[in-house]
Symmetry: C2
Subunit: 509 residues, 2 copies
């Protein structure tokens, strides 16, 4: 059973030694009533209890213990408010509340963690005993953090970190849904080196970034046209322009702020924009020809990240609103700029770049509509990849390992029925034999469920609101296309040939 032990000092604006009577009355009543209010019937003994108190000068010290209902930190907040109501009577208000001690004992982890669990803020020590943990909070814990729900979040985080240790490194579970026929491969080299050799693309000074020449861009546009004509138009999707810089509000709401940090491209802007303020940095470049990074770091502030998953910034379009039924389902796509990913594991040609170009497909509606649209998009994508482009591909359904472990529980969870992702993977002959080499993930399509509407407070005037989305980078589509079909345009599928214009690229002496 989880146990909270709390000691706090409440400092008043005046000496309260003369008001002990009034204070005692509040404390005794609180212990009887306020500390129990809301606890399930029969569980009042698991709610907060006042264990002791004392007054010295302006300070009231209290000691509170509790089980899981009306936890001690919550009881402290209630007590503070009640004492403040006393203000006019005792001519003193609470000026400061200091948490002298907070310990939570017997937090159930659901498993025995293999490594120590650490929390970087507000926690001094986490002691693990079998599948339980005792959390000793540090003096840096403030009432503000408690009021913001921080104690609960820390407990959740401890449980989650224990859980994560178990799943770490465990891959997602993939289930083969479908595979195209085996197709004739017309090429066996890595198309990226080939593309560089014929000047269709060129590496920049940045990691995992290319400039794309006219022929390559023509191929990109051919694929775009195919998607527009064969998928977006027939299914009633229309184009929008999603922002590509994401202010912090977006990853905070989308949940990416939980974990995106190692993979993000960060955006900073000047704290002060006057040229005077930047003279030092300008002088340094003029004198040395180098960038004065140190002064830049002093003069900028982080305002967000570059778009990573492409659809999250869209949600600002609907945020906080109730969408009328007649506007649903909403089907849109975006192709207005690159998204970014810092690839810790390294980049590889156009198969893994850091600046990449993606058509993002997004649909919003009732759960039934979203599930239906996902199926339609999936079918069109299959048709385009398999028949029009004649590529050798496979479809997988993907679930994270932890979900597969809790499978039965999740699957019986009505609210999430239908949520899931389908991945398209393509064979790259230059990587080796079909069954022995890693295939390239080139496209996915997901039913996300209620996640984004909830996160951005978007409602429907006619009930439940879900969303789905999908994306695939043109770098990867073209990598696959050229890896399987080669560079001889005569042998490309007609649908591509009729849409591209291949001419001599720039030649160098």
């Amino acid at each position: 059973m989880m146990l909270f032990e709390l000691e706090a000092a409440l400092e008043f604006s005046n000496d309260i030694e003369g008001q002990k009577g009034e204070i005692e009355e509040v404390l005794v009543n609180a212990d009887k009533e306020l500390f129990k209010r809301g606890a399930p019937k029969g569980k009042e003994n698991e709610a907060s209890q006042l264990r002791g108190w004392s007054v010295k000068g302006r300070v009231l010290n209290v000691s509170i213990v509790s089980g899981r209902y009306v936890r001690a930190p919550d009881a402290l907040l209630r007590l503070r408010n009640q004492l403040n109501l006393l203000g006019t009577k005792i001519k003193a208000g609470i000026r400061k509340v200091e948490i002298k001690k907070l310990e939570v004992k017997g937090v159930e982890l659901g498993r025995e963690p293999k490594q120590p669990i650490k929390i970087a803020f507000y926690v001094d020590k986490i002691e693990v005993k079998g599948d339980k943990a005792d959390i000793k909070f540090s003096p840096s814990l403030t009432v503000d953090v408690i009021e913001g729900g921080g104690v609960d979040r820390i407990i959740e985080l401890v449980v989650e970190k224990a859980e994560r240790q178990e799943y770490e490194g465990k891959a997602e579970i993939k289930k083969l849904l479908w595979e195209s026929k085996t197709k004739e491969m017309l090429f066996d080299k890595d198309p990226s080196s080939e593309l560089e050799g014929i000047n269709w693309i060129r590496r920049t000074h940045a990691k995992g970034q290319f400039v794309y020449g006219r022929n390559f861009t023509s191929l990109v546009n051919a694929l775009r046209e195919i998607l527009v004509e064969e998928l977006y138009k027939p299914l009633g999707f229309r184009e929008m322009i999603f922002p590509k810089f994401e202010p912090w509000d977006v990853p905070k709401k989308s949940g990416h702020a939980k974990s995106i940090y190692p993979d993000a491209y960060y955006v900073m802007v000047p704290k002060v924009s006057s040229p005077k303020e930047w003279e030092e940095t300008m002088d340094y470049f003029r004198i040395t020809g180098e960038i004065h990074k140190e002064s830049i770091m002093r003069k900028v502030e982080p305002v967000g990240i570059l778009s990573y998953a492409q659809c999250p910034p869209f949600w600002q379009f609907l945020e906080g609103r109730v969408v009328k039924g007649e506007s649903l389902p909403l089907k849109v796509y975006d192709w207005s700029g690159p998204t970014y990913r810092n690839e810790a594991g390294g980049t590889h040609g156009i198969a893994r770049v850091e600046e990449f170009h993606r058509a993002e497909t997004l649909f919003i509606g009732s759960p039934e509509e979203v599930i239906k649209i996902e199926k339609e998009v999936e079918e069109k994508l299959t048709f385009i990849l398999d028949e029009l482009l004649d590529l050798e591909v496979r479809k997988y359904s993907v679930i994270p390992w932890w979900m597969s472990q809790e499978g039965e529980k999740k699957l019986s969870d009505k609210a999430n029925e239908g949520v899931g992702t389908v991945d398209f993977e393509a064979y790259l002959p230059y990587r080796g034999e079909r069954e022995k080499s890693e295939w390239l993930e080139i496209q996915n399509i997901s039913v996300i469920g209620e996640k984004y509407p909830k996160a951005f407070s978007v409602k429907s005037s006619r009930g439940e609101l879900w969303s789905g989305c999908g994306g695939g980078s043109f770098e990867r589509w073209i990598c696959t296309f050229l890896a399987q079909k080669g560079f001889d345009k005569e042998k490309w599928p007609a649908e591509v040939v009729k849409r591209v214009k291949i001419e001599d690229e720039v030649k160098f002496a």
Copy 2:
């Protein structure tokens, strides 16, 4: 006359008091020959002279003066190399060179500066006497900085800062080249507020950024189609994809690193990408729901900026190469993503945004070709804006104020004949009467000359290589279009009507 006074201490790896004879020989010869080599005939008295020297322990102290030819800092570098050749003979090499004193007297500023001139690095004091300055360098000046040309660059910078004081706040000089007929205005409100009101666009949480809905995007695409059909295709331009993140190399070469800092969006990536490294930042968000900016600033490094002028990152495609004549002129355009500008002066609706979408036009060839293409593009743009879109616009030629002041000198400068910019400005009726209100700059087109090919070391196999470029944001084109034509599609020009699809935008309850 400019005068250099230098004192330096050269520290050897061993005691050199016993080698005074050998050292004296080198010094005397250097003073006679090495310190004068390269000075114009008859100007040897303005080259470096050894004023004195002494040896103590491992240290040789020298004092050198000079006029403008073979300046004292350069003489010191020559002397160091010469002494190092002595190494095997005296069994000692130079381990360290310390600049004890460097003063440059009588730097000609060309004008009397109104305010003190300051340099943030390597300089202690700048004393201005009339139109001349004495620069006293600080002990932080190293031989490395001298070798990198830092002393010359500091002198140039002092002169430039004096010059800039004079021009500061002085506008560019505009000359009206052409104006369209006065046209009937069909609207008198600010289209941005209107667009927000009907949900065609929506402000995001970022400054000067919008999400663009389906109808607005359809208008953008109509303009793109018009540009492609009426300008790019007939003139033989083809599309490329330019990078949108610019690693430092790009602004360093393009010269933007001289001054872009107050206006830039900076990009940072993690120094270390492992999730472990970021646990602190992740924990903080999980506990408080806020971003831990302080730890982000510690864990990232600045790697460049977001594209600002759109064409500079293209140059990495040709960098360091000799382009064959048959590939010239090269005519390309880019429409692959937004560019960014931190607007210190504030943003305004879609007339001034920070994330904006631009078609960038770029052409490269001989000076004659570039000048000819600029004219052709200018004519097509005029046709599109004036006739197809039926907008009230004006064309100006624009020269910076300083250039107009040095007009005669510049104009007689053969190498730059033809270099210049044409701006298109549009009337916005909601801002007031034609002659009393500020018009909106919506497009420009320039002959840049040899600047970019030089900066990125690009050559042509058939001689001189120039470039030209132009851009205009669709936010501004559409702002102008709606400000003059209003929202009644019936009254829009046929060329737009046939290309747009306007339907109900999303409706909110």
